[in-house]
Symmetry: C2
Subunit: 427 residues, 2 copies
């Protein structure tokens, strides 16, 4: 590739992101050529669906790209674990640089693929996999390289953040807000990867691995989605001065890492609380740089194209300089992942209880027996006919295992009809 | 440098930033060595003042560093234009890579120094020059490389932002807030570079040059500081739903660039309005990435060290790969800087007038004659004895030259005692 004037690109996938990437490569070809020292040519596009494209450009067979000796860089925007992982592996093995937006592949197989890329002396770049067009990966790799990162708090999924914003603003129940998001194209017809937090877990794994120089398996990250949240929880959050966000949290204490994805109560004046709609925001805390925040739209074809084409430019520039910046695979930290049971936060509970004297005393006793101390309580009559009431409790910091045990015990208390909600609080 | 195991660093300046850089290089030497593939050794420090340092490390003569064939990388943290420019030039000419935090040198002499570095095949990095530890330079160079940037709005000076925050929160007059900032070490004893907007102009020039691929001279940037602001302006800003910030603005319209630094009224709900104290924030708008915001502390020795040591790591890594990423000097845009007279914004005026009938009519006439249309007015009796009143006017968008003309005419109107304040409004 160094000696050739032109760089040939193969594109795997022509969905929303792929179409935008193709569009950018064609529309901006003059300025991209100028910036990279020669033409970037979109040589072939693999897409199973039938699409309209210049004759000769389209193939239904990815192999035609992966084995084409002319192709220098493969852009993978198919998404999902399979066959994307295999395609990336094959591209690398065939000596092609790879640019991917695939958080699942990088989160699950990153380390193996980085090593493979190193072995084959090619680059594997993935700026678009987290935060889309927000320059995060390069910031962690380069600008923050001298820092010991102590914490990451992030809103990484535009779909859930849109739904949560709607639920908060209009006090909608989850199914209604989801339906609206789907109608507007902000949620997929099968939204489970987004709403159950899985997408966020992949992204957090990628960020944590970069920030802490570890090899964290996505399965080691505690994961809880937003589908169990109810309109009342947003009412009470507001009453207590909080908003509800799906947060990705990774913290380091000495040799221990805490990594979790779940809905949280965030103080309404905090910066992340103000991130609404489809926006993403990533707060990182470094010993030298202090607290940094990166904010931008985390989804959409154009946003992802920004990162993907930037990755292509970086590869081409490096190659014009005669080098290949193969991925860093140094894992210099032997860190232990803290079990979720040992995590300590404050908690919010919402309980459906019988409306009769002594109920609060019984609940308080269960919490006290588990060393959970109450910071505030709201009790409201919810249904006079059924003699039911709602009790909402905010606790002081408590350990997750104590809280889980208390929840189980509360379910057995006769006057407790239901533990309706249970949300962690971050300050 | 490629063939040696160790990298030798010379440090010019041991003030606040220099001391932190030295501290980081010593304290983190193991992890820095691991990350960069070999030891980074602080070989010599040049400082005129007498400081305590390991014997043999200190010199009062910068020449000893600039001409030492052992030194691979020179870190310049003296600040100011001279002799820093000459030192950097000499370091480059002697084949040394340079890392600098010096916004004045880069803003005024960047292009010449980048060309010189290219010629001598060395790197010249300056991540710390804007936004300190916020990874901005690398984000524009790499992550946003595929974007056409249309606008930058930024708070780039921690000192002025601290003063403005205090003035807003406590309704202090400027001299009082400045004095407090000086007592707390947030403002220097000679604060003019900060409070007159000069520091911000340098930083905006650097960002605009990166974002638009132009060669903008700091002198082409309109510059107005904050020292003329009064406590009343903050009162009225609040009344109208705004806050006052010193904003750096660079916008592109086709082949025209608008670049200016001055205090503005910002809607209180905008993200930049919420940036308080010594924090910096940079909002960039790209055609692909959309609206991005970078936020962090823009001052202090540790913050700058984060960027400086990151630059050192990048140089060392590149060199281990056998390359030198000399600066990009491609200026691919022939853009015209719009004269300030042609800029169009909304305006806020505060006038000290005689308290008698028909005053507002006379003022309105002057504005109307200059095609300036009023959006809202507040008139308040300010001093009954002197029969004086205060009139505050917010206009619809108007052209700067029309507004300047109107201000001159207003000064000649008998009932107008003084045009006390005149602040542009950004929406």
């Amino acid at each position: 590739m160094q000696t050739k004037q032109e760089v040939n690109i193969g594109l795997l996938g022509l969905g929303v992101v792929g179409s935008c990437v193709a569009h950018v490569l064609l529309e901006k070809k003059d300025s991209l050529a100028e910036q990279s020292g020669g033409p970037l040519i979109l040589r072939k596009v693999a897409e199973k669906r039938s699409v309209e494209l210049e004759p000769g450009l389209l193939t239904q067979n990815a192999e035609e790209i992966l084995t084409d000796p002319q192709i220098d860089i493969v852009i993978e925007v198919i998404g999902g674990e399979h066959p994307a992982t295999e395609y990336i592996r094959q591209a690398i093995t065939n000596g092609k640089h790879v640019v991917t937006a695939n958080k699942e592949v990088i989160a699950k197989h990153g380390y193996e693929l980085f090593s493979l890329a190193k072995e084959h002396n090619v680059e594997l770049r993935y700026e678009a996999s987290v935060g889309s067009g927000i320059p995060l990966i390069s910031s962690f790799q380069q600008g923050l390289a001298a820092n010991d990162i102590s914490a990451i708090y992030a809103i990484l999924n535009g779909t859930t953040n849109y739904i949560l914003t709607r639920m908060a603003q209009e006090k909608l129940d989850f199914p209604v807000a989801l339906k609206q998001a789907q109608e507007l194209g902000y949620a997929e017809s099968d939204p489970s990867n987004d709403i159950e937090g899985i997408d966020t877990v992949y992204k957090l794994a990628i960020l944590a691995n970069l920030a802490f120089h570890i090899k964290l398996d996505p399965q080691e990250i505690y994961c809880e989605g937003i589908s169990h949240l109810a309109a009342q929880d947003f009412h009470y959050a507001e009453e207590f001065g909080y908003v509800i966000k799906l947060l990705a949290i990774a913290k380091r204490y000495g040799n221990t890492i805490e990594a979790r994805v779940h809905p949280v109560f965030l103080p309404k004046d905090s910066q992340l609380a103000k991130v609404d709609g489809v926006y993403n925001a990533i707060q990182a805390e470094g010993d030298l740089a202090g607290k940094l925040l990166f904010y931008g739209e985390g989804a959409g074809g154009m946003r992802a194209s920004s990162a993907i084409v930037a990755d292509v430019l970086t590869i081409v520039r490096n190659n014009r300089l005669g080098i290949t910046a193969t991925p860093e695979t140094g894992i210099n930290q032997e860190l232990i992942v803290k079990p979720m049971a040992d995590v300590e936060t404050r908690y919010y509970f919402r309980l459906d209880v019988a409306d009769r004297p002594g109920v609060l005393a019984q609940i308080s006793k269960v919490l006290g027996d588990n060393s959970i101390s109450i910071s505030s309580v709201i009790q409201k009559e919810s249904d006079r006919a059924a003699q039911a009431a709602e009790i909402v409790i905010m606790t002081h910091p408590a350990r997750e295992n104590a809280v889980q045990k208390a929840v189980e015990q509360l379910k057995l208390v006769t006057v407790v009809n239901e533990v309706s909600s249970f949300i962690r609080v971050e300050e």
